[in-house]
Symmetry: C2
Subunit: 348 residues, 2 copies
Amino acid sequence: MLEKYIKETPDWLSATGPDADIVISGRIRLARNIKGFPFSHWASTKDLNAAADKIKDSVNKIDYFSGSESFKIKELDGLKKQFLVERHLISRELVSIKQGLIIIADKEILSLMVNEEDHIRFQALSSGLSLLDAWQMVSGIDSLLSGHLDYAYCLEFGYLTACPTNVGTGLRASCMLHLPALSMNRRIEKILPTLSRVGLVSRGFYGEGSEAFGDLFQISNQITLGRREEELIESLEKVVKQIIEYERESREEIAAKGGPRIEDRFKRAYALLTNASLISSKEAMELISVVRLGVATGFLDKIPYSALNKLFIITQPAHLQMLMAKELSASERDEERAKLIQKELQFI
Amino acid sequence: MLEKYIKETPDWLSATGPDADIVISGRIRLARNIKGFPFSHWASTKDLNAAADKIKDSVNKIDYFSGSESFKIKELDGLKKQFLVERHLISRELVSIKQGLIIIADKEILSLMVNEEDHIRFQALSSGLSLLDAWQMVSGIDSLLSGHLDYAYCLEFGYLTACPTNVGTGLRASCMLHLPALSMNRRIEKILPTLSRVGLVSRGFYGEGSEAFGDLFQISNQITLGRREEELIESLEKVVKQIIEYERESREEIAAKGGPRIEDRFKRAYALLTNASLISSKEAMELISVVRLGVATGFLDKIPYSALNKLFIITQPAHLQMLMAKELSASERDEERAKLIQKELQFI
């Protein structure tokens, strides 16, 4: 039952990890393909179904997946698919793949997309900056699964993937950073363009092509080839730590400068967030972002980061509709979103 | 002591008069000059001082003025003069008249400007739409004073005044209307231009040349000649009653239409008004106006109109500085204004 997930908050939003005031979450994605099966884009429906069956059978042989659930994309309606996208459990690409499958394990910490661009896309999400932990976990599951599946691999290149940019380790590591102070003082505009020089890329809350609403930036590695997984992760973490330091400096500057002009921004954002009768998804993200910075800089009373992280996701359109258990028009969503935010922040 | 006035709220803001939900106040102004003295603009300092002394002596002979206080304009600093302007007790013209005098009686219900354009300008302010009461009061005082002063009067024209537009009755009647619903649905744009056709004129909260911030419109008669005072007042009241009806209709439409989009405007205005750390005078008036409409239409919890009327005036720059008993920069005022509003609305 997909519905049960709406009542729970994913573990990676719990703000319990290192530097969770700035790093919402870390994510490790591993691409794998099965030897003897055509890559998904070239495969027939029969091939895809066979691959999916093979993967599911193998997964079921591993204890870790005993409590997991799997959902066939074609059996989900539009709302549920959108919910999974908002939840960061499936990619927008998988939505339109009929033979696609999503396997969700362990409180959404680990999940597997099947028959997306590659046969298997492992994903591990963790709170804060703990990519190596997430990597060790995915790596362990990957090893276990390799005992039951024959991966497409060659000695020269490493793991083979549908897109050459993923060949080698098949790894993509990313961090979701909340950088409101760097956005406020506009230093972010100087930092982002430098990332490509060190082989990194920045995207919005919903990955490729999404805008950085709510001052949320997803930073990930571009290179997957020619280096060990730990090296790739460590080089990402090194840059992320630098950005964390910049953000922390900027937050301290804002806190030290103080004054009513700065306080005013926070007080107004909190007042609107908790009093408006209508809030669009975009405005909600913006206000949550300002409030989160207000809490971090001490201008606003303490609100747990976990509560604000949760708001970022449950105020998304499909989440709202899943919560209300019905389809809502845009204006109905704006109304329900405002009510939901008030309810969530009322007893904190 | 002018300072004592800052601690009190003028009676005409009490919202106790008829139609006080829409009519903030009514005002009767009567222009009089003393026979044998040149009009103020042509008079020497000696003449002006003599006229002021004569008027003051006469006023002191009338019991009604026993508790009154008089202030010489030249003895007031800029802040205090500005305070009196904001208080609607003196005109902006009187501020620069050295031989000017203001006599304040009876909780600011009645006041006399001396040596403005005319030797005497009586003013009576009352809550709500009660111009005839105000007129009877001014008229009574005017009669009493005429027992001690020889007014410039001729049988053909009536009372003589410095400016021909005031000749005859010397009367100007006006109402301060709060018309937020007509502003919101923009019907006000059609109503205002029609006023001149019936001999009326509309101005902002601070009279001639002031903008209609806070949806406050001061509507007054232009004609002073050839009709009895009661007729002039009744013809103004007739139009005002029509506008009141339009405003009430518009408020009912807003209340009946309802919905989150309308509620949202009110909730946001109230949230900002009570939570911002900085508020400009203009924004304060705009927010107070929306909140006042929110109360009138039932979208917001009850706040006494008297409290909101009071906010319109005490948030003005000189009022704020008098309240703080010191000069404040614009940004300091914005800060103190925000605090003051919060304090005033906290225990309502």
